[in-house]
Amino acid sequence: MQYHKPKNISEVTELLDTFNGSAQIIAGGTDMLVETRYHQQNLKEHWIDISEIDELKQIHVIDGQISIGPAATHSDITGNDVIKQHAPLLAEACRVIGSLQIRNRGTIGGNVCNASPCADSIPALIVLDAQLVIDSAEGEQVKPISEFFIKPYKTILTPGSWLKNIRIHKMDTEDKFAFLKLGRRNALAISRMNFAVVMKISNHIIDSVRLAPGSVYPIWRRVTEAEEFLQGKKASETMFKEAGKIVADSMIKTSGRRWSTPYKEPAVANLTERVLCKAVKFDC
């Protein structure tokens, strides 16, 4: 293994290009260092450390959009004023990742690129319609996050390309939102399931809703079935319960029945109901 520490963005792209498929980015290393023990074969020979490149850690508003550097740590995100004000859902998702130590090192870019089914920031980025800026020697391209993942642990990134920036729209201050995570213990637990939701409601009527669960489908997606069902309806526990059933049904339709289904089916339905309730501050 060889370790490289580029000073700026263009050096990162250059190094990736030079090593032509035998290099990978290391950000916080909280996923990669675990891999060294268990799946060393998945790791590349050259490690390019971006964790101290200042411009890759920045979070700010550009052209009305929030730009997040991939090397921003989860702590950077939860503590950032722009995020707190304009993307509080993302802050909520990042706040439940691992432990303080993990949040201080682990980055949002690493969370997205590692593409683990239990990644907590991804459902939030999905409902916030994140755009990912991908860079390579051939140039830059922007992809919606919905097109970024191929399957668990596999993204569309090619050997010479990397995630340079994440962009999200500002949330409206009236947006109702919630994030919910189910883990085996109260911290330092990966999610067995997680849910992110953003809703627009006027006069108790749901104008729009965006709902994305994690660890429910083979790959992340919004549950349009449930979203369409809820649109135009009055926000109520009964409706949310129905939406929960729709999500559970659609999970079984896509993934089939597995050993975990007897638990997951009711749990997914119940947690969908709960995350919707949580967003509108119902008690359920």
Binding site: V34, S99, L182, R184, R185, N186, A187, L188, A189, P262, Y263, P266, A267, N270, L271, E273, R274, D283, C284
Partner: protein, 765 residues
């Protein structure tokens, strides 16, 4: 110095009674007064080793680094059952940096377990030892392990106790898979008749999982030869046990083997016996003429250094309408892995409650899984989980409050031997615990809470041994400047042994705590003390230390009488000053007195007294749990545990609380999270690290209130201490299970009580 005599003394250790010939003092010192009348005993004293540990300067076995030290690692079987045909170490040997390799190819035959050897070619579980490599670095040793080629025949395997008991299962031993060829059986009274005459009967099956000790510090040894003398630093609960095993294995005099253990990061029973790794390191060190460090890593710990066996328990209980428990029948089996061990869990059924008719049948079954070892109250957390769940079911059936039912069936005498107890304050524990948790506010209707999150309260009882006994000795050396050193051949696992020994010396001789040094864990200097298991260290060792300190006081008074030309009966010892009550002019302090004696250090010894004949010493208690269950996700949240126990005298309130908090956390973990999972298709463990094998973190820990209902056992020893390390964990899981039932009205009969099980039980209800 007081003379000693020899007695035959019975003590209960881990799972069995042992009778030992023991040297005990002829002049037993009377009991101490209540803690309120003592200076430092029972107070919340900070650990004397606290600074070392908190600052990181404490040297654990793992940290020992000797000049020219080489590193050894073990190659273990990757399959659950196989016979080795050939081991080819050629490639590994030629790897630069490899210094030596030991396997059945070249190792001398050393017996291990009754029927096996250090390197057995019959591999009985995933993790069984095949070879050991010593190299310049750990990385090289690990690389070399991968270069060793093994040719073996894979054998059919069985990893499930029930299957292994069957006719068709592959045999791990020619005699069959049931250890000893038959079950352990026990009976009293007439169970069948009692069931016929009963007003109410409950019958159900409970199961518990395999749990791993996982102490913080991994198992490891560092060995060094100096000529024919062998020194072993070992992370062990039994320095003398390791010494004897190593000396026997290497066929050398015990006098040439020295075992040292200063600080330790826990053991929970998994370090009670000498590991094969220690002997392998000693052999390799002798071969290469260099010190060797051997480490068993977390994965190996999760495979090969012991576990709490699983259990399947079929229980049938009967009661009469008035709430008398009339019969218990307990049938159980559990997997003990590839080598001898014990999966028994019927002790609670036999002795927790007064019950005239009891029948027990239990099987320890060989399987191709990792070995069992005693684990913090072996058999009890699983036994109490099943028994006290069934007790609650029975109480409900006869419409009696489960607390009242337990009170009614409290055994005044030991139900198996009809012998009196030296002390038993279980009723007090029930009463004070119930009061602290607010038992009167418990749901009368299980599951009646509105809303998806339901609250409940439950309780369970605790019984354990923990009285300790002889032989156990201590040496006290008093220096000219009034400082002292107290030495014992016990070991501090992190439980606070160093600290209570210093407290006792301070209590008796008024020597300031910072002038008392405690030396433990060294077979070359410490007089014999038993291994640290069975919650016996404090009850066995504390009386010996007090005896040594009291003997020192006697000695000083005698010397002072001679020096001051006073009558001994007129002399008093106060704050290290001896004065004559009949003549205030006559007084002398320790430095002054010792200056006259011409000895720069004076020494006394002390010993643990015999246990009182015809009495049983046990610990008792009850734990109460408050939980809430999220019926949408199946998650159980424990909000509070009250632990009320009779553990004799408290020596140090801080280290006592540490033990209870730790035991309750481990019990909660056992109740809700921990579980070793073996893939039945491959016979391999799927969760061998602390990411996949979940234990709680501090955010999962509820409020814990510890109430000690005992002052001191009046008969057991001069300190009246009973042990508390194991009692702490015993009732936790059962109390939580009963609270869960009270919350949701559905009983979870299987540990751990994961969200999956809870949700599924709710859906089926």
């Amino acid at each position: 110095m007081a003379e000693s005599k020899y007695v035959k003394s019975k003590i209960f250790f881990e799972e069995e009674f042992e009778e030992k010939l023991a040297e005990v003092p002829t002049d037993p010192k009377g009991p101490w007064p209540a803690n309120d009348n003592l200076k430092i005993i029972g107070k919340p004293v900070s650990r004397i080793d606290g600074y070392d540990k908190v600052s990181g300067t404490a040297v654990y076995t793992f940290d020992i680094n000797l000049p020219r030290m080489a590193q050894a690692r073990i190659l273990r079987s990757a399959v659950p059952h196989a016979k080795i045909k050939k081991i080819d170490t050629g490639k590994a040997e030629s790897l630069p940096g490899v210094l030596g390799i030991l396997s059945s190819n070249n190792a001398q035959e050393i017996k291990w377990f009754n029927t096996s050897s250090l390197f057995d070619t019959h591999l009985r579980y995933q993790g069984d030892e095949i070879a050991c490599v010593v190299a310049e670095s750990e990385a090289i040793a690990l690389k070399a392990l991968k270069l060793i080629k093994i040719e073996f025949d894979e054998l059919p395997f069985t990893v499930d106790a029930k299957e292994a008991m069957g006719e068709k299962a592959p045999k791990i031993y020619d005699e069959g898979n049931i250890q000893g060829g038959k079950p352990f059986e026990y009976a009293r009274g007439d169970v069948d008749k009692a069931f016929q005459e009963a007003d109410a009967i409950v019958e159900d099956t409970f199961d518990t999982q395999v749990a791993i000790h996982n102490p913080t510090e991994v198992h490891c040894s560092v060995v060094n030869w100096d000529g024919d003398d062998l020194t072993v630093w070992d992370s062990t609960q039994a320095i003398y046990g390791v010494r004897d095993t190593v000396a026997d294995a290497l066929k050398m005099p015990a006098s040439k083997v020295r075992i040292i253990k200063k600080y330790m990061g826990g053991g929970f029973g998994s370090k009670l016996e000498c590991g094969k790794y220690t002997v392998m390191a000693a052999l390799l060190a002798r071969k290469i003429g260099r010190p060797v460090r051997i480490v068993v890593d977390r994965k190996e710990m999760n495979l090969a250094v012991g576990n709490r066996p699983n259990s399947v328990q079929k229980l049938k209980l009967a009661a009469s309408k008035d709430g008398t428990l009339t019969a218990i029948s307990h049938y159980s089996y559990g997997a003990i892995g590839g080598y001898e061990g014990g999966a028994g869990c019927s002790w609670p059924a036999r002795q927790m409650y007064k019950c005239d008719n009891v029948k027990v049948e239990e099987y320890s079954v060989f399987t191709n899984t990792g070995p069992t070892r005693p684990f913090r109250a072996p058999g009890y957390p699983q036994g109490i989980f099943a028994l006290d769940s069934a007790i609650d079911m029975l109480a409900e059936k006869i419409r009696m409050n489960p607390l009242e039912f337990r009170m009614k069936n409290n055994a005044e005498k030991h139900p198996m031997w009809n012998a009196p107890f030296t002390s038993k304050l279980l009723k007090e524990a029930y009463e004070q615990g119930a009061k602290a948790i607010g038992w009167d506010k418990r749901n009368n209707q299980p599951g009646a809470d509105k809303g998806p999150v339901k609250k409940g309260m439950g309780m369970a009882s605790q019984i354990w041994w923990g009285g300790g006994g002889p032989p156990s000795h201590a040496v006290l050396k008093l220096n000219r400047d009034g400082s002292a050193r107290v030495i014992a051949g016990t070991q501090d696992l992190g439980t606070g042994t160093y600290t209570f020994m210093a407290q006792i010396v301070h209590e008796v001789l008024d020597i300031p705590m910072d002038k008392i040094e405690v030396i433990l864990g060294d077979t070359a200097v410490g007089p014999y003390c038993p291994s640290s298991g069975g919650s016996t260290t404090a009850p066995s060792v504390s009386p010996a230390v007090r005896d040594a300190a009291e003997n020192m006081k006697i000695k000083l008074l005698e010397a002072a009488a001679a020096q001051l030309e006073s009558e001994k009966k007129n002399l008093v010892y106060v704050n290290g000053l001896i004065s004559d009550t009949s003549n205030p002019e006559k007084k002398i302090d320790i430095p002054g007195l010792m200056g006259k004696m011409g000895e720069q250090t004076i020494t006394t010894t002390g010993s643990r007294e015999a246990n009182p004949e015809g009495y049983i010493t046990q610990t008792f208690g009850a734990q109460f749990a408050k939980v809430e269950v999220d019926t949408l996700t199946g998650k159980i949240k424990v909000n509070k545990i009250v632990a009320a126990h009779d553990i004799g005298r408290v020596l140090n309130r801080k280290t006592l609380d540490n033990q209870f908090h730790g035991g309750i956390m481990q019990g909660l973990s056992y109740a809700l999270m921990e579980e070793q999972i073996v893939d039945i298709n491959t016979g391999k463990v799927v969760n061998t690290n602390l990411h996949d094998y979940k234990i709680p973190i501090i955010a999962d820990i509820p409020e814990i209130e510890v109430i000690i209902v005992s002052e001191a056992d009046p008969m057991n020893s001069n300190t009246g201490v009973k042990g508390c390390g194991e009692p702490a964990i015993i009732p936790t899981a059962a109390a939580i299970a009963n609270a869960v039932y009270n919350a949701i009205g559905v009983r979870i009969k299987s540990l751990p009580m994961t969200p999956d099980k809870v949700l599924m039980a709710l859906n089926q209800a």
